[in-house]
């Protein structure tokens, strides 16, 4: 192929994607980072501030308190997803892929259903369920004699974050389930048959044959969970509002960013400080993804059939 034709084809095929991606993804990203180095003056103009915003965010107690609190909460939010959502998703996928299972597609649809619902609906429904005034959680526990176990979980500083995390787990457990289920289906029957002939029972087949083959998918699910959790905002906003109460117990990076950038109630928005928080979120996610790519992804063994 002549060089000219090659270049023309390159522009023709790559051009539109590069253009759209640059315009709507790369430019806003760079602009956000750029904004973080300015500070807004009281007359509305912006002045170069160097790393001032980051210094304020990390070292001025007025800002660093909420920042570290949000970061800590975000890690707890993520850990709960990793320790509950992904293992449960794995178990559900393993159960769904059992040959003897009846009503397979019914279970699959039902478990995946919450993922398709709007976050606002999820938040509202769970608030009604958990309400200490009229919630059915309390009535249900009382009807089986376990009423003493009930607490206003969403309203206590000690339990609000765990409750919100578990609601998010409940909503999104369908994603790891469906991804891992698909990976399990892709495993050739010959391998399973061979392992069975060699005398492995179903549980051993899962541990020694299927699990090693789906590690890449589990890795993918983990990194998706990480990125989504550190970008999370909507469920907390829907259930606890932008102030992420009680006493910021459910405040994560997304809600902190929202309050700072857009403002809240009477709080005025501060675009440059908000950009600094967004940049910190980008750095955290970048570090996490890089660590995964270099430390984990490379060691995962892949098999091709």
């Amino acid at each position: 192929m002549a060089q000219g034709t090659y270049l023309r084809l390159l522009v023709f095929f790559l051009g539109p994607a590069v253009l759209i991606y640059s315009l709507f993804s790369i430019y806003p990203l760079l602009d956000t980072i750029f904004n973080a180095f300015y500070s807004r003056q009281s007359d509305g103009s912006y002045l170069w501030n160097g790393l001032g915003n980051f210094q304020t965010l990390l070292f001025d107690p007025t800002w660093s308190g909420p920042f570290w609190n949000a970061l800590k909460n975000n890690f707890i939010f993520f850990l709960i997803h990793m320790c509950v959502q992904n293992p449960v998703g794995l178990v559900l996928a393993a159960l769904l892929s059992l040959k003897q299972l009846r009503f397979r597609s019914t279970y699959r649809t039902l478990i995946f259903m919450p993922t398709m619902l709007s976050v606002v609906v999820i938040g509202f429904v769970w608030q009604l369920i958990l309400s200490p005034i009229w919630g059915i959680a309390k009535m249900f526990l009382q009807s089986v004699g376990l009423g003493f176990l009930f607490a206003p979980w969403l309203g206590l500083e000690s339990s609000a974050l765990i409750t919100v995390s578990l609601i998010s787990v409940w909503q999104f457990v369908g994603i790891p389930m469906i991804l891992i289920y698909t990976a399990l289906l892709a495993i050739p029957d010959e391998l399973i048959d061979a392992a069975t002939v060699d005398g492995l029972n179903q549980f051993q087949v899962f541990i020694w044959v299927k699990l090693p083959l789906i590690w890449p998918t589990i890795g993918l699910v983990s990194i998706l969970t990480f990125v989504n959790n550190f970008n999370a905002f909507d469920l907390i906003y829907a259930m606890k509002g932008a102030l992420a109460g009680p006493n910021f117990a459910t405040d994560i990076m997304g809600t902190l960013f929202y309050r700072t950038f857009f403002g809240n109630q009477l709080q005025l928005g501060n675009p440059s400080m908000g950009s600094a928080i967004a940049t910190m979120m980008l750095i955290i996610i970048l570090v996490g993804v890089m660590a995964y790519l270099f430390l984990v992804q490379r060691r995962i063994q892949r098999y091709s059939f």
């Binding site: 007025t62 009680p246 809240n264 109630q265 009477l266 005025l268």
Partner: protein, 173 residues
């Protein structure tokens, strides 16, 4: 009427405010009709009603019709308008000094409290929410904690005061 149902006050200082949708005020309709006012904090003798003095209406200096605007503004400030507002927009109470007669008994009881109680501002509005930490956000936060019992009203007031002192010059010692 304000979104706020309950205020914790010491003297003229509002310690915390509570949102209407957060609490059920321990005051029934019968209580109101019988003239029972919200309870005062222990030891306090003066009651306060929070007024929205931070909202106003005025005339644009560059208006082409200053005479007409003045007529309108005078009418807005009149006893006639105060009565119309109070009666036609139930739940809103005129701040006018004119004597207002409301058709609704409950609303009239509310208005009567104005005769006994002093007026106070919405302190977090306007100026006091222009800095960091933001007074309104802080009030939302500490009121929930006071109701939860995880923070005493005194500690809540201290947190608000300390927050203001971080950026609001008149409150810095």
């Amino acid at each position: 009427m304000s979104r706020i149902a309950l205020r914790f006050q010491v003297g003229a200082r509002t310690l915390a405010t509570v949102h209407r949708d957060l609490v059920r005020v321990p005051l029934s309709l019968d209580d109101v009709l019988a003239g029972v006012a919200p309870p005062l904090p222990a030891g306090a003798s003066e009651c306060y009603i929070s007024d929205h003095t931070d909202i106003g209406i005025g005339m644009n200096a560059k208006t082409k019709n200053p005479a007409d605007a003045k007529v309108f503004l005078e009418w807005i400030g009149s006893e006639e308008f105060a009565n119309i507002l109070g009666n036609e927009l139930p739940g809103f109470f005129p701040l006018s000094n004119a004597s207002v007669t409301l058709n609704d008994d409950v609303a009239q009881t509310f208005v009567n409290w104005r005769k006994e109680c002093k007026s106070t501002i919405r302190n977090s509005y306007q100026i006091l929410s222009r800095g960091t930490p933001n007074l309104e956000n802080e009030m939302w936060n500490v009121s929930a904690q006071v109701i939860n019992g995880t923070l005493t009203p005194d500690a809540a007031a201290k947190q608000l005061q300390d927050g203001l002192a971080k950026w609001y010059a008149p409150q810095q010692k």
